[in-house]
Symmetry: C2
Subunit: 244 residues, 2 copies
């Protein structure tokens, strides 16, 4: 009945890392909703759009804003960094949708930090992997700990999102300790990337023991290899298992 | 010393789902190497390139082909479906690179089936998740089973790659049984997508118990929710945990 609301994954931020579909959807929109940091990353070609935002932690209000604009007859897109469905706003939008009869939600995927960060480091996710967020804003720490233990038990490579924030300075250290207590060796090959695809991109490879004491921030994505991962010519590589 | 070899993730297949970076790298290449199915998916604008391929299972030969072309002075890109580093050729290329002094490998990420398939179904990967391949061509089944058990123990949402092939008709059934034996309830919300972003795209939502007996093939990506996932207005949604 109303125009569909698009939830668009913009990838790491640079326009060249968005899909053509994502760019087209944003170009066809009248209103672009998003966290201000992501709106700032959008290039000149979108500057004629109406931008709407809410502060951090007001995600539900931001989603409601999309539906309210759609009900007014506007063509609306909401931007998320990375992929729209991976810790993005797609799930919250779909949760809220039944409250807005006649509204429709369409999800446009994008390159998540697991993929874009892995490409910078080499190929740390070349085999089965987990993606785990260390943010305990919405998830009890006990559940995060349970998942870290399971990831170690399954010998998964791991992409760690939200490894730190101002209030969670030691969470990556705790995560590394949990992995080592559950069978991951201190020599496990690891790495991390700060500001993937943005100004100041910075990649480091290290061991799990070293990772424990590295300074990371909310713009860092961390990669922990599985037991077979290696650093080859400076790149972090998790092998698929080809016999050479 | 030589031109860098690019390993390019092309996403699900349609050009509109490639990143602008991936398209630009392919346009600047002279030689495009890849499995024939993926080369066939490339649009008209790449038809002036030299295409090189090897049959399935000759992945190492395909990688060597890239380096050999680079050593001849050619600008080479290898295409992978989805993301170049997620079960793609990036890890094998980085493994082989030390045998080709003067060669350099650059990875260009793309939208992997976990992201693109999730977008079709709704938002099944809205919280921590695992990606597990059921192919035992290169991985012992015992390891796959260990990872399925760990995924159940950690209450992860799961994206299942390679859920079936002609020789592995019952692997998804076995995987579902292992998950249920390890705590996942038969009512767990699930779904799958065939031919993501390609002709014949087809999405189904179902319970874990129903999934066990669904007919899937090598072009299907399967999604298994976590214990909190729900089907909302026909969409598979794994909530992030916002209090509404």
């Amino acid at each position: 009945m109303y125009e569909p609301v698009y939830i668009v994954g913009m990838g790491p931020g640079a326009e060249e890392m968005m899909t053509a579909e994502a760019v087209a959807v944003l170009e066809q929109s009248e209103v672009i909703v998003g966290y201000s940091l992501y709106l700032d990353l959008l290039g000149e070609r979108f500057k004629d759009k109406e931008f709407l935002s809410t502060p951090m932690r007001q995600e539900a209000a931001r989603c409601r804003m999309c539906f309210e604009q759609a009900v007014k007859g506007k063509k609306v897109a909401m931007v998320c960094s990375g992929d729209a469905g991976i810790y993005g706003m797609a799930s919250l939008m779909l949760e809220l949708k039944p409250q807005y009869p006649g509204c429709e939600v369409r999800v446009v995927s994008g390159v998540t930090a697991a993929g874009s960060g892995a490409a910078v480091l080499g190929a740390p996710l070349g085999h089965d992997f987990c993606v785990i967020s260390l943010s305990d804003l919405l998830t009890p720490w006990e559940q995060i700990e349970k998942r870290l233990k399971a990831a170690a038990a399954g010998d998964f490579a791991i992409a760690v999102y939200n490894p730190a924030s101002r209030k969670r300075g030691d969470y990556l250290k705790r995560a590394c300790e949990i992995l080592m207590e559950n069978g991951a060796k201190p020599e496990r090959a690891c790495g991390y990337v700060e500001n993937i695809g943005r100004k100041g991109e910075h990649a480091v490879t290290c061991t799990l023991k070293e990772l424990k004491d590295e300074k990371v921030n909310m713009f860092t994505t961390v990669f922990i290899g599985n037991s077979q991962s290696e650093i080859i010519d400076g790149k972090l590589v998790t092998k698929r298992g080809y016999i050479l």
